[in-house]
Structure formats: C-alpha cells, structure tokens
Symmetry: C2
Subunit: 406 residues, 2 copies
C-alpha cells in the first residue's frame, strides 16, 4: 500500500466524460489498496474564459478579485470529481484551498505556498476517503483566496505530496512522459524511463512544457518522486527523481529548443566598467528577463559588441528601453533579430563526460549551421542559431548523441 | 446618508456589460453618500450549466459536493463586480459566504441562515468600502459551503439587510416592481407604490415570481424594508413594507393566477374519521404538496366526494400514490384534470371590507365562469376554474376591483 498524490490537468478533465474517466482511474488506485489524494485543474478552457471576463471588466484589475474569479474553475472540477467518485462507490470529499488550508503568502496571482495543514487530510486518507483537492489555489494571511499562477496545479500537487509525505506524485497530462526531444520534429524521439530533477528543470526552462519549473524545484527540494504520464492511456510514464535513484545515466537525456527567443546586439559599446549595468539595469527595471549574454572581445580596446537574448514578446519593449538609454549606455548601433532559436542538449552525464559541447559544435558545423551565441551550465549546453535551422539541428543532435529509438 | 443593501439577479449581471452597468448604479448610490452592500447572483445561465454538469456526472449526487460546484457562479460575479467598481474608482471588496461567514445549518442544497457575522462588514462599510457579497451561499457547521436553494440570493440580501440593520434592501430584477396583475394579460395593470409583506407573500405563493417567498418571510420577521425595482431603468419600484407604513390601503392589491395547478377528485370516499389522513398521509410521504382541498357534503352520509389540487409536475406521481393506496382509502372512482387555473384576489383591505369574496363570485358568474373549488385566507380569496378562462377571469376581476390604470 502506498500513499499517492495524483494530479489531472485541464485536458484530462475537459468535460464530464473525461471527469468520469479520471474517477475510474482513481478508483483503480484505491482498489489496489492505495491512499489517494487527487489535485485537479479547471476544465480545459474555463480558466481562459474567466480571465477574459476579468480583462473585459477592467484592464487594471485588483489581483485579489482576479483570484476570486479564476479560482472558481478548480472549485467546480473538484466538486464534480468527488461526485463522480462517489457515484462509483468510492468514498471521496472535495477540498478547496481555504478549507485545508493551503496557506500561502498574500502575493495574489502568483502566491507561494507556505504550509499545508495535513492533519485532517491524513486522517481522511487513512480512513480510506479520497481527498479531491482544487489545485492552483490557497489562502493568504488576509483570509482571501490566492492563486499560484499559471500551471499552479502542478505546484499544489507536489506541495501536497511533500506535506503528506506521499510515496509518489503522478502528474497526469496529455503526453505520456518526457521525451528525448519533441516527437513532432523527431519521430525517433524516445520516452525516457527516468530523468533527474536537474535535467527536468533545464528542460522546462528551455521550452519543454511538460512540467511547471516551480513544481520541479519544489519536488527536488522535498525529494518528491514525480511521475509524468498520460491520462489517455495506461502505460508507465517518466519518473522524475533524484540522481541517486538512477543507477546509470545516459550522457545526454534530451535535446530541446525554444523558438521564443529574440537577439539584440549593441555595436561598439564603450568598453569600460559599469557598461553592463547601464544596459541590464534599465531592462531589469522594465521587468524584462535577459537570457543568454555574450560580449565579443574588443578589437581596439576601447569598444566592444554585446549580444543578448530576450523573449520574443519582450523584444519591442527591450529595444525601446535600450534606445531610451542610448546616451547613458553609449553605443554606435543597435540590431535585433527575432528569427533565432535556442537549441540545448541536457544531461547530468555531462559532468563526467568530456567533449559533449564539442560534439554539439561539430555536429552543427557539419550541417553548415552557424552558432550565434553559446551558453553553458553544469548540465546543459545551449546555442542560438537561425530559426530556419531548428528541425535540422534538433534531428542532427538527437542522432549525434545516440538518442534515436532503435 | 443611508445604509443600503442592493441585490442584483442573474439577468441584471448576465454579461460583462451588464456587470459594468450595475457597477455604475452602485457608484451612484455611493456618490449620493450611502453605505452600500451588494448581493449578486450568478450570471444568467451559469447556474443551470453547473447543475447540468453535476447531473451528468451523477444522478444521485452528494448535496455537499453539489454545493461546491453550484456556488462557484456567484463567486465569479462577486469578484467581477468588485473589479468593475474599482475600475470606476469605487473602493470595493468581494465576500464569499465562508469569508463573512454567513453561518447556515448543514442542510446542503437548501440551507437556512443562522447568523451573519457583521462586525468586519460594518467596519468596511463605515470606511466607505462597498461590500460585494456572493449570494445564495453560506458556511455550514461542517466547514463546508452550503447553498440556500433556488432564488437564495434574495434571502442572502434580506438576511444581510437584517444583520447590518440596513435602512432598505433594494431587489433589482428584470421587472420594474410589483403589479396589480400580470401586464401581459391586462395591459391596464398598474405598478403598486407599496404593498405589505403579507400581500407579497400571498402573491408569491400564487405564482407572482417577483420575490422568493422565503426572503419575504425573512423581511417580515426582521422588519426589513424591501424595494423591488428594475435594473434596466431608473424609476422607483414597489416598496414591500409593514402594514403600519402604508397609510391607506387599497381594498385589493392584486389579482394573480397560477396555471401550475392540477385537480384530483376522489368519488364516493368513505365518510369516516381518518379518511383524510389515509389520503394526504401517503402524499406527504411522497413529498407532494397539496394546495386547495374541498370536501363535498355527503349525500347519504356514508360517502363523500373529495377534491384537491397539486402542482402539475406532481400530478402523475400523486395519481399513482392514490391508486397504490386504493384499498386503504376506499373510493369508487378517481378523476384528474390538469386544465385548471387558480385565480386569486389579494389585499389586506379585505379584513375591514365586507363583500370582497362575493364580488369575485358575482364577477365570474356574470362571465359564465364556473367555480370548481374555493379557498380563502385572511387576505386572499382563491378560486379554481377551467384554464381556458384565465385571461377573461383575470381581466374581469381587475376591472371589478377598480384596479385598472386610468
């Protein structure tokens, strides 16, 4: 017998039929002798509709009232799933954030969980009752509903698994696990049996949308064993666990890409102390996240070229911020390009294997692909290339690192 | 300066544009120097959709989970209206049943309000903040959301007005007040300036759908001055108040009718003690409400004919209950007829005026309308007639009691 937290996202509960199917799946886990807590998202489309309503009422709306409105979607699903379980003869009860409570700070719209009151939930689970918990929501110290931000139901599930000391947290989604790369680009992509938290974090940060970064961080912090799997079939998914749980790592776990990148280059910036601060300070003030940064070696010693990337959505804003501060920064020309993609290879095996980055550069060179910017972390190498080469690069790297399914 | 409770029903908040219009109206009351608490229903259609979802998940659903699901509609409206008010520069905050709390018993689906915690609400109102309260919902002693039953938002508004000792409770709806009769049948129907609680109760019980009976009872009990008015125009509505507030009553305030009646007649029932119990006991056990009852004078002393009415929806069920208990009741034949209508004249003036009922019978006789059953209360006379005569009877009575607009 195990204690499980199961999380079902919006597509898994998109209509009444799907909610009934989820109930059957939960019943299966109960019948197998497990204690089960379930976290649910809003039915697909509901949250977007509520967000639209709010936006149409007021463009600058109060985050506290926004939370009251958008949290209602998960409330509905939790009640419906509890009913569906009862209909199958499974003892079940719904729980809203304020009822448990899931205590959060009072940063409405992107609250962080502080503590989950687990006594009553544990008592119920031990008595054989399924707890159906509305994801995405909590209770702030101001006695008002808070929400955790987009994808917050993953975070609820992981936090719950940590609080309840669950044996596993199963994240049911519309994909059947974590793949070595995007199967739409590489038909030979393989589903991974397991992956480390660190690799999953790097993947999430470069565009693999399987899990919300924050929930993986939380799982890593509390050692919550995650499984990503599909609610539409019954095969095992991908385990996301600590490095110690994986006996032998692949060198590279995955090749990812993110098209949501735009490149900005400042030509002939004065090469003096403080110049980086004069550029990135104003961008930070404008809440623009800068990703990759590269500074070319200065030719004559008095000026240098500086390139960095921002998300495509921020490009226009970033350019205007730089132009506004032209005098303070002092540059000769400003170039930008949204037609770039960041391709990354990720793997904890990188730490103990030399030549990983070199193989990446050689593979791209062999295909005639020019690398514009490089950035590396302990378990990731990323390159910025022209967007048109995305598929070519991803496929070539997938083969080069021996990831293709046989 | 007054303390006002305003209630807006589903059609008044049916979409974002209407919610903005409501916000403007509330702002008007605030700008005039009033303290304002607002109760809102779910946006028109939302509750029905949630009820459908619940019915599709499980036919025999847990009332506690049903309440979790259906209460979300009012939650959304309260958040959106608070936003819309803030957008107009009006300080506002939404309140859900559990936040105030609106304490109720734990009879989920049709809970009764026990107490409303008013300290914090009053403090906010005094500070100039508008309180936007989700109607229809409360918190049971089991720490779970309860709902008050259909039309419960009226009850929330009145209970709130009582708890806050409001000067007036304005019920905004899609009609502009209480009329002497249905304007669709009698174009000369007049909007009443005022009406007593008792008259309003009688009207509600015979088909005038303006206010939920329970909310009027509550208003009467606590002396809450109600106003029924339209959210689609700006003219004064109808005041529903105690008799002492109305200087001179009309003799008759209104003529109402209810088509939702069906007549059942048992021929030659044994005329002995306990026979009524043998009929109405099984009907009560089957949760069938019986309205008018008339027992004809027994011809020979050993048997009698007995006629009563039930709602049309209950007719089939009632007939089958009677047939099931045929032996215990002992009757010769059973007749039923759904093509009947109950027409009533209502007025507290009846108490001090003789001949009111007689004028009704004479008026109907003059039109050749046969009266099948009669029932009277202190301030109401009702007759059951053939449904085809509805319009003719209502118009004739409206004229006979001098109610036609001049």
């Amino acid at each position: 017998m195990a204690k499980l937290v199961q999380k079902f996202g919006g597509t898994s509960v998109r209509d009444v039929e799907r909610i009934k199917a989820v109930a059957l799946r939960v019943k299966g886990a109960v019948d197998a002798g497990n204690q089960v807590a379930v976290t649910v998202s809003a039915m697909a489309g509901v949250t977007n509709q509520l967000v639209d309503h709010a936006a149409n009422v007021s463009t600058l709306h109060d985050a506290r009232e926004f939370d009251v409105v958008v949290s209602s979607g998960e409330q509905v699903t939790s009640g419906l799933l509890a009913m569906a379980l009862q209909d199958l003869g499974v003892s079940a009860r719904s729980w809203l954030g304020w009822q448990i409570p899931v205590w959060t700070d009072s940063v409405h719209g992107r609250a962080r969980i502080r503590e989950i009151e687990d006594t009553e939930l544990n008592r119920r689970l031990e008595s054989g009752e399924v707890a159906v918990i509305a994801g995405f929501q909590g209770l702030g110290s101001d006695n008002r509903i808070t929400t955790l931000g987009r994808g917050g139901s993953d975070t609820t599930a992981v936090a719950l698994a940590a609080a309840l000391k669950a044996d596993r947290c199963d994240i049911y989604t519309d994909v059947s696990g974590v793949y070595t790369t995007d199967p739409r680009i590489v038909p030979k992509a393989r589903k991974l049996h397991s992956i480390t938290y660190e690799e999953m974090l790097e993947m999430a940060s470069v565009g693999a949308k399987v899990l919300q970064t924050r929930s993986v961080e939380l799982a890593m912090k509390y050692g919550v064993r995650l499984q990503v799997l599909s609610s539409f079939d019954t095969v095992p998914g991908t385990m996301v666990v600590g490095e110690d749980e994986i006996m032998e790592h692949e060198v590279i776990s995955g090749v990812t890409y993110s098209r949501d990148e735009a490149k900005i280059t400042l030509l002939r910036v004065a090469d003096r102390p403080g110049v980086a601060a004069s550029i990135f300070g104003p961008l930070a003030d404008a809440s623009i996240n800068v990703d990759m940064i590269v500074q070319n070696i200065s030719e004559k010693g008095d000026a240098t070229d500086l390139t960095f990337t921002v998300s495509e959505a921020d490009l226009e804003h970033a350019v205007s911020v730089i132009q506004t501060h032209r005098d303070a920064i002092s540059y000769e020309d400003l170039l930008w390009d949204p037609n770039v993609v960041k391709v990354s290879v990720i793997g904890v095996g990188m730490r103990s294997h030399a030549g990983i980055a070199q193989r990446m550069f050689q593979t791209l060179a062999d295909k005639g692909i020019n690398i514009q910017v490089i950035s590396t972390s302990e378990i990731k190498v990323s390159v910025l290339i022209e967007e048109a080469y995305t598929e070519l690069a991803v496929r070539a790297l997938h083969t080069a690192y021996d990831l293709d399914a046989r």
